[in-house]
């Protein structure tokens, strides 16, 4: 049943966000720490476990893969609702502060990639 996949995905998201929220409270800050990442790990582990012990059906799987395929259109919608004007209105300080941070971070990708090797 396709709803099993959607429900599993939703359950992981809610549990992940709750744990992320609790983690934030634990550190005394008003922000979610890693909720989505925790949810992703939950989905990876749970689906792996369920596959082995119950066999997730093809259709159940589609309840998850549909959402992963609709990801890019969602990102396009997200881009269409950004406050682009606000970013431009911030002037030179905002432009330099945000822009240089991004450029330097890009430069560090090849450096940090070597850690693994």
């Amino acid at each position: 049943m396709v709803i099993y996949g959607v429900a599993l995905l939703s359950f992981c998201m809610l549990l992940g966000i709750i744990l992320g929220e609790l983690l934030g409270r634990l550190f005394g800050i008003d922000a979610n720490i890693g909720g989505i990442g925790i949810a992703m790990l939950l989905l990876i582990f749970l689906s792996d476990y369920l596959k082995k012990s119950f066999r997730l059906g093809d259709i159940t799987e589609k309840g998850i893969t549909f959402w992963s395929m609709i990801y890019i259109p969602i990102v396009v919608a997200m881009a269409s609702k950004q406050n682009v004007l606000g970013a431009i209105d911030g002037g030179l300080i905002a432009l330099f502060a945000g822009g240089i941070a991004v450029l330097l971070s890009f430069l560090l990708i090849p450096v940090l990639s070597k850690i693994k090797k």
Partner: protein, 255 residues
């Protein structure tokens, strides 16, 4: 009977459905352009994201609001489709099929990239603030935090009692970062080796802006999305933890 009024009512009332048509048209048009003009060399999804940002800019000018096209009544559904709830739902779904070995083998690099990313962005923002003449530790730290993400900026500014003008500036710095990551990633990716799960995790940890990382990787290779999103999701939390505390104290010592 006014046909425009009927149209307006139906499209607004069924906002989410209208947004599917709107986004579908953007994506179709982008892949069409990518195919005809660049022979598919420039990714259709990258073009679609750029077009989306362009519409957001036009929407901002037209309505004066902060939500891009979502402030236009007819297109309010775009706000729901592109909002944090569905975005995060889809990001989590992309994790289905992630290889655990890839996550484990990049663990150390991913975690170090998180700390380096937050600290580097903070000090870049702080330095720019100093160059532009700010000399009080609170303003410098708030603008530095804005260069971390547009959430960390106001969280830090509020905690430190920064002026609302400085907080607005920190949000703008975070917005620039996020939009710059969205637009530049497809162009820069091949020069920095951003083409495998390991470098995607590092990318997510260094940049940290959820929307920037989500859109940037989608335009490079959708398979890399879960790896970048995995580290990026810890970034804002870590920033909120470090910026108003240790990082602010360092700035205060210097000033």
């Amino acid at each position: 009977m006014d046909i425009f009024e009927v149209l307006n009512t139906v499209l607004s009332k069924n906002g989410l459905i209208t947004s599917f048509v709107f986004v579908g048209c953007i994506v179709w048009f982008s892949y069409f352009l990518s195919d005809k003009l660049t022979n598919g060399k420039f990714h259709g999804s990258a073009l679609a994201i750029l077009l989306g940002l362009l519409f957001a800019y036009l929407g901002g000018i037209y309505t004066g609001g902060k939500q891009g096209v979502a402030d236009i009544g007819l297109l309010s559904g775009v706000g729901l489709l592109g909002g944090a709830m569905l975005r995060d739902f889809a990001i989590i779904a992309t994790a289905y099929g992630v290889k655990l070995e890839d996550l484990k083998s990049s663990g150390v690099a991913g975690i170090s990239s998180l700390f380096i990313g937050v600290i580097l962005s903070f000090f870049v923002g702080a330095t720019v603030a100093v160059i532009f003449g700010y000399s009080d530790a609170v303003s410098i730290a708030t603008i530095g935090a804005g260069a971390v993400t547009f959430v960390v900026g106001p969280v830090t500014g509020t905690a430190l009692n920064a002026s609302s003008e400085v907080i607005a500036l920190s949000i703008a710095a975070g917005l620039v970062k996020s939009i710059f990551v969205m637009t530049s990633t497809p162009f820069i990716a091949k020069y920095v080796g951003l083409n495998n799960p390991n470098s995607a995790m590092i990318f997510g940890g260094l940049m940290g802006t959820n929307s920037g990382v989500a859109a940037g990787l989608a335009a490079v290779d959708p398979k890399l999305v879960p790896y970048g999103a995995m580290t990026a999701t810890f970034y804002t939390g870590l920033g909120c933890l470090l910026a108003p505390s240790i990082l602010f104290l360092i700035i205060e010592l210097l000033y």
